[in-house]
């Protein structure tokens, strides 16, 4: 990882490390904290088609474990997680 690159959050296996072209919908949850980012993601993903990608921005460090659990339990795929200047970005593919 070079100095200018974003920090890609380390997780087990391939979760959250894939490349993403573009998001179909962006959800801004900056400033919010637990449980709002996960709840808003659940609501927003209903407006997408299967296979489409939701981009969620948040500033809560607690969102990391929250979104991992959310994806594991709801079945939607957490494609990529990255972190830049205190902002966490999650890319989620709707699967169900």
């Amino acid at each position: 990882m070079s100095d200018t690159e974003d920090r890609v959050t380390s997780t087990a296996g391939d979760v959250g490390k894939q490349a993403v072209d573009k998001a179909d919908l962006t959800l801004d949850c900056r400033g919010l904290l637990c449980p709002m980012p996960a709840l808003k993601t659940s609501t927003a993903i209903k407006n997408l088609q299967i296979g489409q990608i939701l981009e969620m921005l948040t500033t809560d460090p607690g969102a990391k474990p929250d979104m991992l659990a959310w994806s594991k339990r709801t079945g939607h795929e957490l494609v990529r997680m990255e972190e830049k200047s205190g902002v966490l970005k999650f890319y989620i593919r709707k699967t169900v």
Binding site: L33, C34, M36, K40, A69, R73
Partner: protein
């Protein structure tokens, strides 16, 4: 990092282990349960609510609205020092792990933080403690008031989550709007946060010496306990709100399991201290069974899900820089102080229930077995629901 050609040093590797990745939740929760036994052995079990009330009383007194000659200064009162230690310990941990930032939530969220804080302040007075003192430590002390509060907390968290989902559907604008972040860490390199974190930690290790030099050795102990709780909570993000809320949300049960195990451990420690006469048997058994515990738990459950932090969670997340929880902390203090005043004036405080010490009712063996059974049921329910998601609202 690619540009570093040499192997990371032993210190850097150890630093990354402690502050670079989150601590596992269950061992952290067991550490909290153990520290709570130590704290009881030292003086009294852990709670956050009496510290909040002390802050509220002090605020009203300094505004000239309250006259209490017996009021202990927040810098000397045990509950307040525990809370200040928790706040500063979490701040140090957040800085050292580069997770500190001042995060200002949209106005609607700040409002919810205030309402949540007020509800928690009221609930904690009815239940004789917050979710830590009124539930966690109380059940560990084999008090039935704690069991009543647990029931109230389950119902309150469920209803509050239902409200949040309703709000998102009917009133999505409420939780959106302008938000800002200040002092966030840079994306690369260590930056200034760890340096400030080390300085904060040094100050926190220096203060106990100052306290004991001034003749307040006990206060020094409370401060260190608070700092230890702050470090463990911030690094592990172990959260009792999550333990109650998550089964109704994603179904994730790790924090529920962690809470059940930690409480069982605390209960065994408390029982040893009480049964061996190292502590009074009726310590931390309050007259809140069942009205005060149940109603207080319900209101507290509503408040903690709304605010996004409980008695302890509001404080350590405030230390991490969430402005919504700064608001919650202030309103918890104000609400706690006001509702205690009202409860005393109206003499309702004596009508919240009876003090029931479980071993007096069924003997030590059955009392301990009943608490273990309650915790095992909570653990099993959450684990079963994790797969089936029968109770999940999303």
């Amino acid at each position: 990092m690619a540009h570093v050609t040499t192997e990371p040093g032993a210190f850097r590797e150890h630093y990354d282990m402690i502050f670079g990745q989150p601590w596992p939740v269950i061992p952290a929760a067991l550490l909290v349960g153990t520290l709570n036994v130590f704290l009881f052995a030292f003086d009294r079990p852990w709670t956050a609510s009496d510290g909040f009330r002390n802050w509220g009383d002090w605020l009203f007194q300094s505004m000239g609205l309250l006259h209490r000659p017996d009021l202990i200064s927040p810098f000397l009162y045990s509950g307040s020092i525990l809370n200040l230690g928790l706040l500063m310990g979490a701040l140090a941990a957040a800085l050292l792990s580069r997770e500190f930032a001042i995060r200002v939530a949209p106005v609607g969220e700040l409002f919810k933080g205030g309402v949540g804080g007020l509800l928690m302040g009221l609930g904690a007075n009815l239940a004789f403690g917050c979710n830590i003192g009124g539930f966690f430590s109380a059940v560990a002390a084999l008090s039935m008031s704690g069991v009543a509060m647990m029931l109230g907390l389950v119902v309150g968290s469920y209803l509050s989550l239902k409200y949040l989902l309703w709000e998102l559907e009917r009133w999505p604008g409420f939780s959106t709007g302008k938000s800002s972040t200040f002092c966030a860490p840079r994306s690369s390199g260590l930056g200034w946060q760890p340096v400030l974190g080390i300085l904060t930690l040094l100050l926190l290790l220096l203060l106990p010496f100052l306290y004991s030099r001034l003749g307040y050795a006990r206060q020094a102990g409370f401060l260190l306990f608070g700092v230890a709780f702050g470090l463990v909570f911030q690094r592990s993000r172990f959260c009792l709100v999550r333990a109650f809320r998550e089964p109704f949300m994603t179904g994730e049960a790790e924090h529920t399991r962690a809470a059940a195990l930690a409480l069982t451990l605390s209960m065994i420690g408390f029982a040893i201290l009480k049964a061996m006469d190292l502590k009074d048997a009726t310590d931390w058994v309050f007259a809140g069974f069942w009205t005060g515990g149940l109603v207080g738990g319900l209101l507290f459950g509503l408040g903690m899900v709304l605010a996004g932090g409980c008695g302890a969670g509001s404080i350590w997340r405030a230390g991490e820089g969430h402005v919504k929880l700064w608001v919650a902390v202030v309103f918890f203090a104000v609400g706690g102080s006001l509702s205690r005043l009202i409860l005393v004036q109206t003499q309702l405080l004596q009508k919240l229930g009876t003090a029931v010490f479980l071993p007096n009712l069924v003997g030590w063996q059955w009392a301990m077995l009943l608490v273990v059974a309650l915790m095992v049921s909570w653990y099993v329910f959450a684990t079963w629901n994790e797969r089936s998601r029968k109770f999940s609202l999303i």
